[in-house]
Symmetry: C2
Subunit: 153 residues, 2 copies
DNA sequence: TTAATTGATACTAATATAGTATCAGTTATA
DNA sequence: TATAACTGATACTATATTAGTATCAATTAA
């Protein structure tokens, strides 16, 4: 079972590309080609991020997308929230007899504790942080540069 | 997004019932009724647990299921493994250009670290531990006792 | 003017999860 | 020893989620 879905995955990758070119707009096409993401699918993801004010767009020729904030302020946690409705360990597990009083239920506490641990971990991970690690990984080799493109459906 | 699926959920509940009556066999029917789990679905879950040697069964009248080991040795982690194929944060996220060399990829390390954190948390949770907390929650009120039953399809 | 772009939206496909149905075999017990 | 209460095995359907596609209108740089 995967904790991150494709949408979150693609969102992170797109954001990393945008983090790599803070000043200029990057088109969906370029991102789709560079990151090997289905074009229209990516567009949906980008629009969702616009709605959540993570990025802005510019229409027309030379248009594209741009971050609205510092990459360090974008947390993977938030992306999971947007694209997956958060991480919920489980719904109430012992409805019936066992947990007559939900509010006092110890199991529930246990489960919510883990939920919190997971969330905290993803809260630590920012686009900025990932981006710096990436740069390090690529040893100054600019893999995120925009390049000449090939049409995508 | 839910981390625990119904199968894992039901497995935990069934195991808690078995933990409550270590000596005698408990039938699928009783567990289904008591825990409000679809009968045939639960049976599938139970058979899966037999295959993994967590429980044994006895056929025929007065038959049912019984734990093979101490409840403290059964970890939720293992159930997740059995019923959900483990928790995988994501598959390799940056295949193409970005991560030419997977083995050195820092992002991958980050992701695997979180995967480990999640797994460690669930490894801490045992059926025995949950059972004791349950007993506490119910203040000696034996909610898990076997009772007269109603037919289930 | 036109080609490169996003906005909006409606659709299909693939996969995973959840649940149902059925029949054969075993066994306590009346 | 017949029968009802059980499990074993397996095949099936239904529902939800995730992933992906298609289309058309509006915008804009060149
Ligand atoms: S797990 Fe839901 S109230 Fe206890
Ligand atoms: S995330 Fe897969 S190699 Fe880096």
């Amino acid at each position: 079972m995967k904790v991150l879905t494709k949408k979150t995955d693609y969102a992170i990758r797109a954001l990393l590309m945008l983090a790599a070119s803070r000043e200029s707009y990057v088109s969906a096409k370029i991102m789709a080609v560079e990151q090997d993401i289905p074009y229209q699918f990516l567009r949906g993801v980008l629009q969702e991020m616009i709605r959540h004010n993570l990025i802005v767009s510019k229409e027309g020729v030379q248009g594209g997308f741009k971050l609205t904030m510092d990459p360090d302020e974008i947390r993977v946690n938030q992306l999971i929230e947007i694209f997956q409705g958060g991480v919920q360990v489980s719904e109430c597990m012992f409805r019936k007899q066992i947990c007559a009083n939900r509010s006092r239920c110890v199991l529930r506490h246990e489960i919510m504790r883990i939920e919190q641990v997971v969330q905290n971990e993803f809260e630590k991970v920012t686009i900025g942080g990932l981006f710096r690690k990436l740069e390090l990984a690529n040893q100054l080799k600019p893999a995120l540069s925009t390049s000449e493109s090939v049409p995508t459906t």
